[in-house]
Amino acid sequence: MEGEILKGHLDMIVLAALESGAAHGYAVIERIRARSGGAFNLPEGTVYPVLHRLEQMRMLESRWEMSPVGRRRRVYSVTSRGSVELADRRTRWSQFSDVIGRFLGEGLPCPT
């Protein structure tokens, strides 16, 4: 899928990927790839600015922890604010995609 299209929705995608549980950056990318069936194939480093921005907006929180192989890694989890934001975006996305789907599928008249 086009990176430019995805970029506008990365916040929502990352929040959704972390909804199932805390994860570090690499695992977030793996989840996104798995849940999208490989369709969302962004440069992996792209996810970090999104994670850091969401953390600054207090939608995510993070902590350092040790990996099973003894490497220090930063693990992110969704805050209650992030959960509310994700639910809100889901609703808006659903409404938006319904309208676009009907518009493209059934040839709705253009609003004047």
């Binding site: 570090h24 950056g25 690499y26 990318i29 440069p43 992996e44 480093g45 792209t46 970090y48 600015p49 850091h52 921005r53 600054q56 990996s67 192989v69 490497r71 220090r72 890694r73 930063r74």
Partner: protein, 244 residues
């Protein structure tokens, strides 16, 4: 760690040099990410696997560019706030010194023949102080407005430069007011010679000078970081809309 990975992380750190704490954090996270990618590569930890991991991670400059606007906006906003707070700090130091003069008269040998110089310095002091406060507030407000606007990277950079220029003008005014304060205090205190009673006025002058130096350093650092980030915006192109 291999040379290839180390070299990539060095480039990433250099591209993020506009925000040293972010650069350190990002380097550690990127290193961890690349190591995991290499570990999961079916070919094992080969040079080819390292190259693939770096390609998948993306260009260091593109990653740094995604941080630049939000990080530099935050730094510029902090500089605007610092300029305003420092001007207020100078006012507090000035007023406490004047209050002390009022309660401890006579602590010095007043020199009537220096009245005209004192009057000129007093006027310069007042004028430069109010200029500093007004300009610092304008600079801070401008930074906040620029941060919120949905500007292109070029427009945003211009706004940052203009707001930092306002902060620089405020800094110059602060330096003038602190210099005038120091001269006024010297005229008032030195003829009496060294004594315990000049300790507090001397301390307030040192405090004012320290605040002015902190402001000069802060502005220089942010301006240098803004200048060094120019290459990131050049890579993105001037038409991209990317306000955070």
């Amino acid at each position: 760690m291999s040379d290839l990975i180390s070299e990539y992380l060095d480039v990433l750190t250099r591209e993020l040099s506009f925000d040293p704490s972010l650069a350190r954090r990002m380097r550690e996270e990127a290193e961890n990410h690349l190591q995991e990618t290499i570990a999961s590569d079916p070919m094992g930890a080969t040079t080819e696997a390292e190259r693939r991991a770096i390609d998948r991670f993306g260009a260091a400059r593109d990653i740094a560019a995604q941080y630049a606007i939000s990080s530099l906006s935050r730094q510029a906003k902090n500089t605007g706030a610092a300029a305003t707070l420092i001007v207020i700090g100078v006012l507090v130091a000035m007023q406490s010194r004047l209050a002390m003069y009022g309660t401890t008269r006579p602590i010095t040998g007043d020199t009537p023949h220096l009245d005209s110089i004192r009057a000129i310095l007093g006027s310069v002091d007042r004028f430069s102080f109010w200029c500093a406060l007004l300009i610092a507030l304008c600079g801070w407000a401008y930074i906040c407005i620029a941060r919120k606007s949905n500007a292109t990277s070029t427009a945003w950079r211009n706004q940052m430069q203009q707001s930092l220029s306002l902060c620089t003008a405020a800094t110059v005014a602060v330096v003038v007011t602190v210099t005038a304060d120091a001269a006024l205090a010297a005229i008032r205190l030195f003829p009496a010679g060294w004594s315990a009673s000049i300790f507090f006025p001397f301390l307030t002058i040192v405090l004012e000078a320290t605040l002015a130096v902190i402001l000069v350093i802060q502005i220089r650092v942010v301006m240098r970081r803004l200048a060094s980030s120019a290459r990131l915006f050049a890579a993105q192109g001037s038409s991209a809309s990317e306000a955070p």
